[in-house]
């Protein structure tokens, strides 16, 4: 499954490269400044990365479950739209609204709608860029199993990627990262030991439009 996902992503990255390979017009390296903006559309698979249950007793299960098989999940998907404005020549601040889904072993659907503030730092700039992002926000999480429970949680994200600007205004980014979703129960709750920090790893291909 992972192999197929990587092949698709590489093809997605390679096709635009081939399309613009013959364009010999030198691309002018853009320097960002305050007020510049970026619009980004992202999509790709999401790999359930881990469940960490710090208060779970060993008789009730393992504290740390890593990757889909152990988590009883399947590879899902993630898509989002993002808008950011530059604060200075290297930092951009904005927001992102997304949709994450993944099925569990019993084919019940887990969905998460994250909305977050996102700060991106771009240390390497030019035709090839390396954006590093952190995000903080909320996530509305739902599950189709049982009584179809849902809850609103906080959300933290970390991301890194490699961008290639094949046009002055347009670029594509292959990125990955970690979305952290805590499900917290107070000490008086009968299931306080079910408190879980969930990690999901989206691997996304993004299209970015930037302008002055």
């Amino acid at each position: 499954m992972m192999k197929k996902v990587l092949i698709v992503l590489l093809l997605c990255a390679a096709i635009p490269m081939m399309l613009f390979a013959e364009d010999e017009t030198p691309v002018k390296v853009r320097e960002y400044e305050m007020g510049n903006q970026m619009f980004t559309f992202r999509a790709g698979p999401v790999i359930p990365a881990f469940f960490f249950r710090p208060f779970l007793s060993s008789s009730d299960g393992e504290k740390f479950l890593v990757f889909p098989d152990a988590m009883h999940m399947k590879v899902g998907g993630y898509g989002s739209i993002r808008y950011q404005g530059f604060l200075n020549s290297t930092m951009a601040l904005g927001g992102e609204l997304g949709y994450l889904f993944a099925y569990d072993k019993g084919d019940e659907l887990f969905t998460s709608v994250p909305f977050q503030a996102k700060l991106t730092y771009i240390p390497l700039q030019g035709t090839i860029e390396i954006p590093l992002s952190i995000g903080l926000g909320f996530s509305y999480n739902s599950y189709s199993g049982g009584e179809a429970p849902s809850f609103l949680s906080m959300l933290a994200t970390l991301e890194a990627g490699v961008s290639w600007y094949f046009k002055d205004d347009w670029g594509i980014t292959l990125g990955t990262g970690l979305q952290l979703i805590p499900e917290i129960y107070g000490s008086n709750h009968p299931y306080s030991d079910h408190t879980t920090l969930a990690g999901f790893m989206p691997i996304t291909l993004s299209v970015t439009y930037r302008n002055n």
């Binding site: 009883h72 019993g106 499900e183």
Partner: protein, 336 residues
């Protein structure tokens, strides 16, 4: 610049505090916990266990078929009996029948010999208006079309003929009057309970293998699960109320269980009996046991954990082993 950061600290702290508060989930047992305990679906649908013969379990499934399940290899075999609704167990035989429609008797029924299920035999002249069968015992609910007269009968299987006879094997028909179709429940080969509406309340009649007990207490809801150990009755009505008996009087206990609204009001709800206590899974998949005093106690042990994320359709008790037919996850078993 310093000033800007100073101004940002307060809103950031406020956002963090808000996030922490809304991140606390108090509505359920934990979505991520449930996911980590999820179980692969089995595509036979809801499993109503009928009988066990040797290494095989026999079951009616949600996809409308009659299956046998090999408990050693965990494999299903379709016994090709489609469109049948009622199943009853008679010794080594399983009887399957269709539901009567529009007051028309349907005598299409078959007998399967569990020791040789490849050769089903039709039941001749089963000319009755069938309303239900008890899956794990030999009781059939019938009705006189166009009347309010209901009968509980049993199937007698002879060498060459099969017939419906009175449940008590007496010359007098075991008949009851209800104003709407009653619920027939039986969890073993001996007892059955008939619970049905008379006017605006529900009437309950217990057969204990030797005779009938007509309870003088009517309730606002039908009984959907019960156990009877020969002297004590423990019953649950469709609203989750618990009832015990004192001779012919039903007494409501202080405790209750939450039965999911998805369970039809007049359909039996899955329960099983162990050590004269009634075991039941509630709406949130937690298990409770109810003793003869009507005391409700939550059961938390290794086998209950296994069903944290599994909705149960039926039980079949075989000594200390309990086989469990589920809504979407096939068959499980545990030792109690």
């Amino acid at each position: 610049m310093k000033r800007k950061f100073k101004h940002m600290v307060i809103p950031v702290l406020l956002v963090l505090a808000t996030l922490l508060i809304v991140g606390c989930n108090t509505e359920n047992e934990g979505i991520f916990m449930r996911i980590s305990e999820s179980v692969e679906k089995v595509d036979v649908g809801a499993v109503t266990l009928l009988a066990k013969n040797g290494d095989y379990l026999f079951a009616k499934t949600g996809i409308g078929d009659f299956y046998k399940y090999n408990t050693l290899t965990n494999t299903w075999t379709d016994l090709n009996a489609k469109d049948y609704r009622y199943f009853s167990t008679v010794g080594n035989y399983i009887v399957i029948g269709k539901k009567a429609v529009d007051d028309t008797a349907d005598n299409t029924a078959f007998v399967y010999d569990m020791t040789d299920v490849a050769t089903p035999s039709a039941i001749p002249a089963l000319d009755e208006y069938m309303l239900g069968m008890s899956p794990q015992s030999n009781y059939v609910l019938t009705k006189d079309p166009g009347t309010t007269d209901y009968y509980v009968k049993k199937i007698n299987i002879g060498a060459t003929a099969y017939e419906l006879t009175d449940a008590l094997n007496s010359s007098t028909e075991l008949s009851f009057v209800f104003s709407a179709d009653p619920t027939l429940i039986s969890n073993d080969s001996v007892n059955f309970l008939l619970s049905g509406q008379v006017g605006t309340t529900y009437r309950h009649v217990l057969y204990n293998g030797t005779g009938l007990t007509e309870y003088t207490t009517s309730t606002d809801f039908p009984i959907v699960g019960f156990t009877f150990d020969g002297t004590e009755l423990i019953a649950v009505t469709s609203d989750g109320s618990i009832w015990t008996d004192s001779t012919t009087t039903l007494i409501e206990a202080s405790g209750s269980v939450v039965i999911p609204e998805s369970n039809p009001k007049t359909q039996p709800y899955p329960v099983f009996t162990h050590n004269n206590e009634l075991y039941i899974q509630d709406e949130t998949y937690d298990f409770f046991k109810i003793d003869a005093a009507g005391t409700v106690t939550e059961v938390t042990t290794a086998w209950t954990d296994e069903f944290d994320n599994i909705k149960i359709k039926s039980y079949l008790v075989d000594g200390t082993t309990v086989y469990v037919g589920t809504q979407t996850n096939g068959i499980f078993k545990f030792d109690i």
